[in-house]
Amino acid sequence: MKINYGLISADSHAAFERNDFTRRMSASKWGDRIPQVVEVEEKGCRVDRWSVYGVAADNSVCNCPAVMGEPFPTYPKRWDEVPRTAYEPRERLKALDTDGVDAEVLFPNPPGGTFFEFRDAEFELAVVRAYNDTLSEWARASDRYLPVAILPYLSDPQTIAREIERAEAGGHRGVNVLGQMPKSLPHLTDPYWYPVWGVCQELGVPIHFHGSAGLRAGASVRKWDGYTPRQAHSASTATSAVTPAQIIPQLIFSGVTERFPRLKCVFAEAGIGGLNYVLAACDHEWECRHLWTEGIATRPSEAIRRQMYVNFWFEAEGIKLRHDIGIDNIMWESDFPHVASYYPRSWKEVERVLKGVPREDRRKLLYENALRVYRIEATVPEKND
């Protein structure tokens, strides 16, 4: 890859074309369970929705407000309104150039990455493969796309491991993992999942926890009906900030980082400032409880700097503490084309947040750390400082 702009997004979202699943999955076998766009009625209007397993979703057919224009944020009601920029890989490269972004790590968009919800292991495996194959096509379209595979949780861990190998061979650069495993499956840190972490470590593909990482199901305040939708969005999003602080200690104190010291874990869309807390709190408990006598030989802050990565986009104050957090553990993200994205003016926000940050640090934060985490070979022209 050639670095033209000096900016890699470690968290963006690839939208799907309406036939991405129907052209990959057997119609005779799966019928209307295949993810597809259907027309439904909502408040007297005809709207398009993704339907999975015969169930129409209640959210927009494409989460792409950053490319929908004014008024912001607008979510398409009909498939015809969805700009090709969102789901067509070659078209989208133009948007990357407009925004001055060299490459992007791709997370899910509707119909999403939570197909375990239908409790049908065979279906889940088939649809996960179709999902991962679609994103492999993006990777083939351009080396500027770094897709993250999703997992067939309901299959046995060996099957999951094989799917990771298959996805990696197809161009995937990481895997997306739920912070809290689906009900009926073992805890995130249970040895049951060790074959999965083992293959990720061997292949060098980082595991990713995105946003609330599904933790809201198990760690959240009961809903209050007095909020407007905007207030509810602010209140719940502000709590995503604690996702790394709930998950990282689990991985450390349950021995996962001891057993898999080369497993990399990326926390997307959860901010960077939480890592300050995790570093201080885990070290404090490790010291005062002598946890090296309990099998946790590595000082938590050492394991964190070795294996944990966090992403920023707006935290100007947080960036001032980049050396406390770990200058090698922070990457930039755009969240394109979601509501948090500053497209097409990402650089303006980058300059605001990184005001006064020296050149060497800027390079690490904006693309060098991402090149290392995702093991990308790149040529960097001298001018990209």
Binding site: G179, Q180, H187, L188, T189, D190, G218, A219, S220, V221, R222, W224, D225, G226, Y227, T228, R230, Q231, H233, S234, A235, T237, A238, T239, A241, V242, A245, Q246, P249, Q250, F253, S254, G271, I272, G273, G274, N276, Y277, V278, A280, A281, C282, H284, E285, W286, C288, R289, H290, L291, E294, G295, I296, F314, E315, A316, E317, G318, L321, D324, V339
Partner: protein
Amino acid sequence: MHLKYGLISVDDHIQEPPSLWTDRLSKNRFGDRVPHLERAVDGTERWMVDGQALLNGYPANAGALMADRNREPRCWNDVPSATYLASERLKAMDASGVDYSVLYPSVAGFAGEAFGRLQDPELELACVQAYNDWLIEEWAAASPRFVPQCIVPIWPVEATVEEIRRAVTKGHRGVVFPSLPMHLRSVPHVSGPEYDPVWAICEELGVPVCLHSGASNELQYAPLTGLAPALAEALDAVTKPVSSVFVISLYSFSRVLLRHPRLRIVLAESALSWGMLYMEWADHQFEHDGLAREGYDLKPSEMFHRQCWFTSWFDEVAPFAKYVGTDRILWSTNFPLATSTWPRTRETITRCFQDVSAETREKLLWKNAANLYQL
């Protein structure tokens, strides 16, 4: 107020003795539903109330004073007296250099939440009143160095308000309120107008509302079943303070703080180092979602700077003090829990306050607390 050491610890826990409730509650009326120590055939003891075990099945939480911090006492005879005797506690305070200690419960829940889970409001009120009376008679009367705080019945709201008024009249200086009563039993959501009388009485009486972390285990990611107790408890200790993000976010976005501008909120056992992230994140979200147009006079960080406090005991001050606000941070020792800085409180303070000015240090270690509790 007299200071010998220059430290007011705003978050310590007393250990309720076995006779506290059995001495004060009517045996005829409540029978063996009264909180009491129950002995098993193997000699271990645990607290029971109305058929439910309290305090994770231990007779006391005293990790900091045990030979092995990871082993809590298993019967009352093993419980160190500095946890439950005021006279012994004063010696421990002298040993670690603590002038005043603001008191939170243990059996009644570290956040005062335990009796809120009872389905019988009469038993709840009787347990709460016995605790509040005992703390004044046995601790506050023993020394002015103890700052007593009352616990409350969570519903009906008239009972909550009445008990706060009664307790403050008796000498309580703060109100330990379980931050999410609707997680304890079926009562209205704390964000709604139903709880406004509680905030109003605290404003009127000038007592802080203390929201200690851990009031609801629904806010924490539960550890792997079967994990060694030391590791499971370390996980609990790490995931608990930061769960206060949910609480402060709720009290801010649901406008409780805006409706009650003189209400003062202490986030006890919150730690400090996630505070900057929370405020920067909440303000960003507030602006991104356009909430200024939805009837908020203040941004989340402004609400915090007006009426809230973080409580720390182990994290570094310098990186966060400026942003969180040097008036908004309190210090504690968290005695006698396993996570406490005891017996290395002074060394810990030296480490945490590196590169902090003498003026800021005084504020965090005692001045802010003295102002808040009007000592």
